[in-house]
């Protein structure tokens, strides 16, 4: 009995000693170190652009239609020659997602024909006010400059595709859409 007791204590002591000399730590100290998310992670939404800065979203409202919790609100407007926002005929003038209603199911990115809305890798969703949880279009849109993050194409198995890895298979996803 006493021996078994000491055996158990020795195991705990070993773990403690290992930690003190710096081995066996399994904790990531979160605000300083962030965990790498897997490719299929469904985090905060992103609205993507083409390489020339035009938005991919054409305001078709398929995402709003498919959303099971009705978290997406979208108003479309026509593109004009003076104000060419997206690559198609129309663009989303207002695009809001209520993040408190969103259940992060990923149906929107599945439904999107243009690969415009995708689920990003960011999981830092805390806000100070309830109104802050309504994500406006500007909050989600990728910055207009070049080299803005990874291209993100919906794929039921692998979601994050970088331009380099994708080029060989599907051509250049960043390419300017020809028709406009």
């Amino acid at each position: 009995m006493l021996v078994d007791f000491l055996k158990g204590s020795a195991l705990a002591l070993k773990h403690m000693g290992n930690f003190i000399i710096g081995k066996g730590n399994v904790t990531l100290e979160y605000p300083e170190v962030k965990r790498e998310q897997p490719a299929f992670f469904r985090g905060r939404h992103r609205l993507q652009r083409y390489r020339d800065g035009l938005e991919r979203c054409v305001g078709c409202s398929l995402c709003a239609a498919v959303c099971p919790s009705e978290a997406i609100y979208l108003e479309a407007a026509e593109n004009t020659d003076e104000n060419q926002v997206s690559a198609g005929e129309r663009y989303a003038e207002i695009y809001q997602i209520h993040l408190l209603r969103c259940i992060f199911c990923g149906f929107c990115e599945e439904a999107c024909p243009e690969n415009a809305i995708v689920m990003g890798a960011s999981y830092e969703l805390a806000m100070n006010k309830r109104t802050d949880f309504i994500a406006e279009k500007d909050d989600m849109l990728d910055p207009a400059e070049k080299g803005f993050g990874d291209y993100h194409e919906y794929d039921p198995y692998i979601s994050h595709v970088t331009p380099e890895s994708d080029k060989s298979a599907k051509g250049d996803p960043w390419a300017v859409k020809a028709e406009h």
Partner: protein
């Protein structure tokens, strides 16, 4: 060396209100000691809590609290501040007077027991004389021949010391029991009932393990008990009473309601146990009482078994002081400082180190051992520890009686202590190895295993009948 002014007029002035300057002096000395010991302990408790959280997380391979302050040093203090500012909620249907009384009844006995812990030797004789002449007090009031002839470095030093500690710690159970009863909550009530039966059961073990030490010292006075262990670690009572030492440690875990005996607040079964309905400072008082109790039983264990304020090896302080003075005449001023160091090393270094070891043991056991079931707890207390304690006591007292009859000097010899230790420890280990044989251990494992060992991985195992 002397103070530039005398303190005597101050006590003469205070003496007008207290029936003479001697009484004023007694009160002032007691107040200083209380301020130092109680105040010091209260400062340390947040850090004990932090230490606990750190040790537990290290055992579990994680860094533990490290957000507030360097190494998370402010966590304990911030916890206290948070509890202080929380809302106090009194649930409906509580027995109000008892509900309010219970937290106090947990903390007060803990503080009462604190005033007996001897943290250093008694200042008396020439050293007291030197101190008195340094403070320029009246030697007829305080001094080797005065009304106050000694200053023990403990708040008080009554003759029945260890009995006082037992009495006061046995009152501590009322806080938990009443908290459980008055909360008007069945989980609290169950916690209170468990605590009362558990504490009464383990108090017997505690007392039995103490009696052996009292026999060895021939006195109930804590200073006499410590003096009987003077002269190096081979004189300590742990050498004479190893089995009693083990019993004391087990019983002290049970008395403080710490894991593996924290059935009164078993979180998986009773939500919070007896303190479920308490919040804010009332809850903090329960916590405070638990930690002070931990420190006190640790200090008692140190006093009874580990030689109290005596170090591992005896140091001839007087000789060292004289030797330093003899090196060069310019070192002559160091003599009183060395003597002072000999008094301060107990409260500053040795006692904190030894108590700290036991605090670590408390925390380490919490990180390591699973909680006992209630019937196992009672089995352990009444069927194992009590007989072991009784047999240990019979052997100890028998050998001490033989020793006293042979030598007739009223003192237990060192060799006798070792013989007692060897015999009791040998018998205990023999019992342990024979009783818990591999066959019985296999049987026990089979009895207590919830799932049969043969269950395959990924398959839902059937409950063992």
């Amino acid at each position: 060396m002397q103070l530039p002014f005398s303190l005597q007029p101050l006590f003469d002035f205070l003496g007008q209100f207290t029936d003479g300057p001697a009484n004023a002096l007694i009160i002032v000395i007691a107040l200083i000691k209380i301020a130092l010991i109680v105040g010091g302990l209260l400062q340390i408790i947040p850090f004990i809590i932090l230490f606990e959280r750190k040790i537990i997380s290290w055992v579990q391979d994680r860094p533990g609290p490290n957000r507030a302050g360097p190494w998370g040093l402010l966590h304990g203090i911030l916890d206290g501040v948070k509890l202080f500012f929380k809302e106090e909620i009194t649930p409906k249907g509580v027995d109000k007077p008892l509900y309010l009384l219970a937290p106090g009844l947990t903390v007060a006995p803990a503080f009462l027991a604190l005033c007996l812990v001897p943290v250093g030797p008694i200042i008396q004789g020439a050293h007291l004389d030197a101190l008195v002449s340094f403070l320029r007090l009246d030697p007829s009031i305080i001094g080797p021949g005065g009304i106050i002839s000694e200053i023990p470095l403990a708040i008080t030093n009554p003759n029945i010391g260890i009995l006082y500690v037992l009495a006061v710690t046995s009152i501590g159970v009322y806080g938990i029991t009443l908290a459980g009863w008055s909360s008007n909550n069945k989980w609290s009530l169950l916690g209170g009932i468990r605590a009362s039966a558990q504490m009464v059961s383990y108090e017997i073990t505690l007392s039995l393990s103490i009696i052996g030490v009292v026999l060895l010292a021939g006195s109930l006075n804590l200073y006499n008990i410590i003096d009987s262990q003077a002269g190096g670690f081979w004189h300590w009572n742990v050498m004479a009473q190893p089995v009693a030492f083990l019993l004391f440690i087990i019983a002290m875990f049970a008395e403080t309601n710490r894991l593996p005996f924290d059935l009164a607040e078993a979180e998986p079964e009773l939500t919070g146990g007896f303190h479920t309905e308490y919040s804010s400072m009332r809850f903090a008082l329960f916590f405070l009482g638990e930690y002070i109790n931990m420190v006190i039983v640790s200090a008692m264990c140190v006093t009874l078994f580990l030689g109290g304020y005596h170090g591992l090896f005896p140091l001839p302080w007087e000789a060292i002081a004289t030797w330093i003075t003899n090196i060069s005449p310019s070192f002559a001023g160091f003599y009183p400082w060395v003597i002072m160091a000999s008094y301060l090393i107990g409260p500053m270094v040795i006692v904190p180190a030894k108590v700290g070891f036991f605090i670590f043991l408390f925390i380490f056991a919490r990180a390591t051992l699973p909680r006992l079931r209630y019937d196992q707890l009672m089995d352990l207390g009444w069927k194992r520890l009590l007989p072991i304690g009784l047999i240990n006591l019979v052997i100890t007292s028998g050998i001490i009686a033989i020793d006293l009859m042979v030598t007739g000097n009223g003192q237990v010899e060192l060799a006798t202590k070792w013989i007692i230790g060897a015999i009791t420890l040998g018998l205990f280990l023999a019992w342990d190895l024979l009783y818990y044989s591999p066959r019985r251990k296999a049987q026990l494992e089979k009895d207590y295993r919830l799932y049969p060992k043969s269950a395959k991985k990924g398959e839902k195992p059937a409950l063992a009948s």
